[in-house]
């Protein structure tokens, strides 16, 4: 089977300013396999991929492509040699169409003399998308697409290069089950054709369902490679975190109290006639496909977007919420889906980011902020949530994703909310940080906080919620208790 190996990484090392990011790691990928790469954030996965793609220089080690040592100077070299990569962050030009994006910088085949034939390009794009089974208009602007659709366009672009190796960096993090099914189908097709796929992910169930083999990395070291048929979730988790994690989801013993939030006939852009209640100590799970209107409802309730009609009652009183400021004033808090866009303030420190919603507490005469009081409170919260930062005056962007998310959670807990809305709170966060966030959510519910958890990860919904709602096409279509809920039941209602 030796000649079947297409890409081999041997003893690859890389250090940043004296600190080892990769310590003699290996990876061996065969033709026609889906090879999963897993590890916590900071395990060195991205660094290794960036070196393979020629984005970073290695210190030591070898990369063999079809048995030949290679040293790409830039991603363009790697693409020319048949390796392409789908990045986690969308790297499409929003003002250009789907077709223009897919063939960007590779328009030679559509040339009509000095001009690009838009028609030919559109045709080629349609054919490509049809082949993949993606229903997206080739002429649409990328800015008109949903995040999930854009991710599929990225996939189409990677495939259109006819690459022999495709690296996918967490391609499913913003996809719902429907698009994941498309992605997996495309991956299986590619595997049939002998393409090697390196699949980076955090989701273990998903990995086991699609991959042939999996390589695990931890703290810059190579831990081992397993055949997916011969391993299971618990084994992988203990390989990833280096200890056995018996239960990812905490047991929650919360007592349900009085109604905190009641929503009556709420309608707005992307959702209609939504009514539900949340009680003290309750974790309400909102399940459904991406685009079903879950985030839109939450944004409407929190005053981020305008609502068309309907009533919101808090503690039995009708309330007017026209902006997030109103919602915060009423004791609500919301961790938004998109951390970079609507969560962190990039130019601010950890301290400034965490105290911003509660600044009036630390403001003395003449509106001057009492930095000492502020620092004490922030420090307390950082300890409580075990936010790992060298100090609170570091830029928030210098923290890992999981720690940024904990800091944002801390920002809201400082306001002592009675209702906490969490929209995809664990997206793109490693297993360790996830478990910590779950424990924290459980603790808050036990203390009597009403919590709404919007999530596309079914196990998360099932593991955390006390009641589950399912949304489909903007409607609330199903409600059940945690004991009744199963993956199949929720999936059936989500797909309709």
């Amino acid at each position: 089977m030796q000649d079947n190996t297409i890409l081999e990484v041997k003893d690859l090392s890389k250090s940043f300013l004296g600190v080892m990011a990769l310590n003699k790691v290996s990876l061996s990928v065969r033709r026609g396999e889906v090879h999963a790469v897993i590890g916590e954030n900071g395990a060195g996965k991205s660094t290794m991929m960036n070196i393979i793609m020629g984005d970073l220089k290695r210190d030591h080690g070898e990369i063999l492509l079809k048995g030949q040592p290679t040293d790409f100077k830039s991603p363009a070299d790697a693409i020319a040699s048949g390796i392409s990569m789908i990045h986690q962050e969308i790297s499409l030009v929003p003002t250009l169409s789907v077709a223009e994006n897919i063939w960007l910088h590779r328009e030679e085949q559509f040339m009509n003399g000095p001009f690009i034939s838009g028609k030919k390009r559109l045709e080629a794009t349609r054919e490509l998308l049809d082949r993949m089974g993606i229903n997206i208009n080739a002429g649409s602007l990328v800015s008109e697409l949903t995040v999930a659709q854009a991710q599929l366009v990225e996939l189409a672009r990677a495939i259109s290069t006819n690459a022999e190796i495709i690296i996918m960096d967490e391609p499913t993090s913003s996809l719902s089950d429907k698009e994941i099914a498309i992605l997996f189908r495309v991956m299986r097709d590619l595997r049939e054709k002998g393409v090697a796929i390196i699949f980076i992910t955090h989701k273990i169930e998903e990995l086991l369902s699609i991959s042939d083999r999996v390589s695990v990395y931890r703290d810059g070291c190579y831990i081992g490679t397993q055949s997916c048929a011969e391993t299971n979730k618990d084994d992988l988790i203990s390989m990833i975190i280096g200890r056995t994690l018996t239960e990812q989801y905490p047991e929650i013993h919360a007592k349900e109290g009085k109604t905190v939030l009641e929503v009556k006939n709420l309608s707005g852009s992307g959702y209609h006639d939504i009514s539900f209640r949340v009680h003290e100590g309750e974790i309400i799970g909102f399940s459904g496909l991406v685009g079903a209107g879950r985030s839109e409802v939450m944004r409407g309730i929190f005053g981020i977007d305008k609502r068309a009609s309907g009533e919101i009652l808090l503690d039995g009183q009708k309330v007017e919420i026209h902006s997030p400021g109103d919602a915060v004033g009423l004791g609500m808090a919301m961790v938004t889906e998109d951390r970079r866009d609507m969560g962190i303030i990039r130019t601010g420190s950890v301290r400034e980011n965490m105290s911003i919603s509660m600044l009036q507490e630390f403001t003395g005469s003449f509106g001057i902020v009492n930095v000492r009081k502020e620092a004490e409170a922030v420090n307390g919260m950082m300890k409580e949530l075990s936010v790992k930062a060298a100090n609170m005056n570091m830029l928030i962007t210098s923290l890992s994703g999981g720690n940024q998310q904990k800091a944002i959670l801390g920002r809201w807990l400082m306001t002592k909310p009675k209702l906490l809305i969490l929209d995809e709170p664990t997206r793109g966060i490693d297993v360790g940080a996830k478990a910590e966030i779950y424990r924290l959510i459980g603790k808050l519910a036990e203390e009597g906080m009403a919590i709404i958890l919007v999530s596309s990860e079914m196990p998360e919904i099932l593991g955390m919620s006390s009641r589950v709602f399912v949304m489909r096409d903007g409607d609330l279509v199903f409600e059940c208790s945690a004991t009744e809920a199963t993956q199949e039941l929720l999936g059936k209602h989500a797909l309709g």
Partner: protein, 331 residues
Amino acid sequence: MTKKKGLDSEKLMQFFMDNKAAIILIIFVAVVSCLTSDFFTGRNISNIFRQICASCVLSLGFTLVLASGAIDLSVGYMLGMIGIATALMSVNGVPAVVVILSAIVIGGFCGFINAFITQVFELAPFIVTLAMGMVYQGINLLMCHSKSIAGLPDWYKFFGNGKIGPIPFPILLMLVMVAFMMVLVQKTRFGRYALACGGNRKAARVCGIPTGKIIYIVYILTGICVGIAALLLTGRTASAQTGAGAGMEMDCVASVVIGGTPMEGGKVNVFGTLIGCLLIQVISNSLNLLGVDSNWQKIAKGAVIIVAIILDRQGSKLLDRIRVRKVQTEA
């Protein structure tokens, strides 16, 4: 041992970054004072300070607006218009208090208009304030029939040449404004909110900050700074010139950015703005003293701005690297 060294280099680098304008200024002054003995005379130094008062106060407002993630390109023509308006009022015998208050009120109102148009119609402040600048210029020329207004009363000239004790009044006013702005932007809750708007307006809104209101206040305060700057400039020239203020917004951009407040917003260095103004004036002044052609002075100014922002970018990168190394050695 290495840990301690890393800590020191971070602090040192941070100090350089926070004070790079001052460091460039000191080097520049050192070189110039070697070349000519005319520079370090009491008269010349006092002149330099008096010349920057108006542009510094103007730049203070500009600092706030940039830090909040917006821009106000109308400040130059707004200053010219307020200068003419207040000069007209004062030569027609309107009492000093009323004229001074009107300068502030007109400035605040113009700022309000800028904010109103950008906020209500959700337009880019760059183009709105550019267009409003043209409007202010037109109003300016209509009011004075394109003629300068001379014969200002003594109280008005006090804004340019008055002294309180040994200290010229405009310099005192400027320093008070610098101190006020430093406290406002760097110490108060409003300042935090404005910087949060500059860093990420959407996230700031989600945090519960009334971002719309903050932007209104930012523009109004900027307008008030313009009003005060108009009094200072008109008082110093002892007459309201029709062309006063034209192009000053570009000097503002230069001094604010040299001072360390980035165009992208979210960060601020109010004291740096004062240093930036000083640096630009010192360049003109010293090249004058050395008898350099004024066209060369423009080239020199442009070059200094480029050098300052290159230093800013490279310095930030280096600082990040030092920080990363520090965190990693601690971990």
